[in-house]
């Protein structure tokens, strides 16, 4: 499941930066060298790709939802209809400088396989995801006793596309298991602004509404 519907976007949806770009998109875009080749997996309506192309990036996209793809193609973006879980396998090694997975990891069936493919296809991977370890979600589960529903993650447990939620700590562990290099990491607060860079991981894991990781191959 790869569709980035408007509904399951995090609060950063509302947070807009310069040029009316979404703050979380700006954070992702800042991790990408200009004029590089980028594959955006789960590119939605193509907003991030548009932002990247305005920075001289040669961008391509994959999107599951037919409406999203058709909207992108009609905007002139090079986007194909496809599924991260099944279609990344068809891309050759080293085809891209960066493979981006923005707000989509938790909706994939096999997050680990997707991550491994990303770093096979691209020299770097940029992954952003909602942090399930955020204090508000913890409180909802602790005192509500039910699967948390928030403004940013409003779906009920039985119809959410997000089948693999994780916390920032969980994702760090996965990176260790897969053996990828964490080149940069950022946690964003509820308003899409980065938390203090020198904050410890437990602080990010508690107060980061979402996280953005720049990953590389170990040994590169």
């Amino acid at each position: 499941m790869l569709s980035r519907t408007r509904r399951d976007l995090t609060m950063a949806e509302a947070a807009r930066g310069p040029g009316n770009a979404r703050v979380d998109h700006l954070v992702v875009a800042d991790m990408i060298e200009p004029r590089s080749r980028v594959l955006d997996v789960g590119c939605g309506d193509g907003e991030l790709l548009k932002l990247l192309e305005s920075r001289g990036v040669d961008g391509r996209g994959i999107e599951l939802s037919r409406e999203g793809v058709n909207e992108c193609v009609a905007k002139g973006l090079a986007v194909i209809q496809g599924d991260a879980d099944t279609d990344l396998v068809d891309y050759p090694n080293d085809a891209f400088d960066y493979v981006v997975l923005s707000q989509t990891l938790q909706a994939t069936r096999h997050p680990r396989a997707v991550l491994e493919h990303m770093l096979r296809i691209g020299r770097h991977a940029v992954v952003s995801f909602p942090n399930f370890g955020h204090w508000r979600i913890r409180l909802l589960l602790l005192f509500g006793g039910r699967m948390p529903q928030t403004d940013n993650l409003p779906d009920t447990w039985y119809d959410t596309p997000n089948i693999h939620f994780c916390t920032i700590k969980d994702f760090r562990d996965l990176c260790g298991t897969v053996g990828v290099k964490m080149e940069r990491a950022l946690a964003l607060n509820a308003w899409g602004r980065p938390l203090r860079l020198n904050a410890p991981w437990w602080f990010w894991n508690l107060f980061g509404e979402q996280a953005v990781f720049l990953l590389g191959r170990r040994g590169d």
């Binding site: 193609v73 009609a74 002139g76 090079a78």
Partner: protein, 396 residues
């Protein structure tokens, strides 16, 4: 009347005249410009009939080649001189349409082997003064594209802004991108494949056998003998027409409804609407199409296999390409299903090409590419618009 009745009409007579003297511009290639065919022979002299719309800009950068399908022709956006019908793709091509003739110079040639003015089996062999018939060499999609490239040379067009087409037209688009990558800025292969599947070859074979089983086919020499295999060609068309639609579309359109009656007649008359519709499709088709052309063009599609020219590796057909691609398929197309388009996309990705791919949800089957599908039109318009901006083509 249970048997299919097909009577020749004025349309058939007018169509036969078009084969040699079409009411379209014609480029004639004399003996000094032979066409080298994949079959290993040269075709010479030959001619290419085409239609052109809009104006070529000063930079000669706005030319769009539209490739027609099996039974199409060059009359993409004008009234057909023989049938009087509107152009076969006038939802797509015309002033203000996605392939905007106010902005682009649009050329649509009749393909090699067809019967509307480009040399084919229905044309007169100038060396003998007789209709080519089965003496016409077997041609391929690549031969069609070679002939088109010669036409463009003649028109002084070095680079095409875009090549677009559906079905057999899409095969030509892919062949263009593979044979002349540096001459194609953008490519739009719609509802097609890089090779004809066994099932599709099988359907074609049934159609050809229907033609050849008609006693009036006369071993392909029906012209000389003053007859025409109308019943055979009509049956071929009826069979093929089913493959262009879908179960859902046939059900929606006809269901099990009776034609002009309330009860079955307990005969082999066309009781059902769908039968009546197919008979009409068959009989009107034979008016406007030559039976031998049908054999040659279906054969050309059967032989199409882009990967075979590249040691079986499809991606090699597009190696190093700088062409932008927009691949489109339709959910209910079972002749060229989405999996075929995905194979194109995978190969293009492997070649590092700039490719977009959209699958459009419709129950109209393969023929959807010819119909007024808003999403199709919107995608083609958007793709061409951004490509035109990248190419520096002024807005209309």
């Amino acid at each position: 009347m249970a048997e299919l009745k097909v009577v020749p009409s004025r349309i058939a007579v007018a169509r036969e005249r078009e084969a040699d003297q079409p009411r379209s511009p014609v480029a004639i290639f004399e003996m000094d410009r032979p066409l080298r065919l994949d079959a290993g022979v040269e075709l010479s002299p030959f001619q290419v009939a085409y239609q052109a719309y809009g104006e070529l800009n000063a930079e000669r950068s706005n030319a769009v080649l539209v490739c027609h399908a099996l039974t199409g022709d060059q009359h993409v956006s004008n009234h057909h001189p023989v049938t009087g019908k509107a152009g076969w793709w006038d939802t797509m091509v015309g002033p203000g349409r996605p392939i905007d003739t106010n902005r682009y110079y649009v050329i649509c040639p009749n393909v090699l082997g067809a019967c509307m003015g480009t040399t084919g089996p229905a044309s007169t062999d100038p060396r003998t003064g007789l209709t080519w018939g089965l003496d016409f060499p077997v041609i391929t999609i690549r031969d069609m594209v070679r002939a088109q490239a010669m036409l463009l040379d003649r028109l002084g067009i070095d680079t095409l802004f875009a090549v677009a087409g559906g079905s057999m037209g899409g095969m030509q688009v892919l062949q263009w991108a593979a044979s002349y990558p540096q001459r194609v800025f953008a490519a739009l292969p719609i509802a097609c494949a890089t090779r004809h599947s066994a099932q599709n070859i099988a359907f074609h074979e049934v159609g050809r056998q229907a033609v050849m089983a008609d006693p009036d086919w006369r071993g392909g020499r029906y012209f000389a003998e003053g007859v025409s295999p109308r019943r055979g060609l009509a049956v071929a068309r009826m069979g093929a027409h089913i493959t262009y639609l879908s179960d859902a579309a046939l059900h929606r359109k006809f269901g099990r409804k009776f034609q002009d009656r309330d009860n079955p007649t307990f005969s082999f008359d066309a009781d059902f609407e769908v039968e009546s519709y197919l008979r009409h499709q068959g009989s009107s088709f034979v008016e406007r199409f030559d039976a031998n052309s049908y054999l040659y063009l279906t054969r050309a599609m059967d032989y199409f296999d882009l990967a075979a020219d590249c040691d079986g590796v499809l991606a090699n057909a597009f190696k190093g390409t700088r062409t932008r691609f927009c691949v489109i398929s339709f959910t209910s197309d079972w002749l060229f299903p989405t999996s075929e388009s995905r194979a194109i996309v995978h190969a293009l990705n492997a070649a590092g090409a700039r490719v977009s791919f959209a699958e459009i949800a419709t129950d109209k089957g393969h023929d959807a590419f010819l119909l007024d599908e808003p999403e199709l039109l919107q995608i083609v318009a958007g793709f061409l618009d951004s490509a035109a901006a990248a190419r520096g083509i002024a807005k209309a």
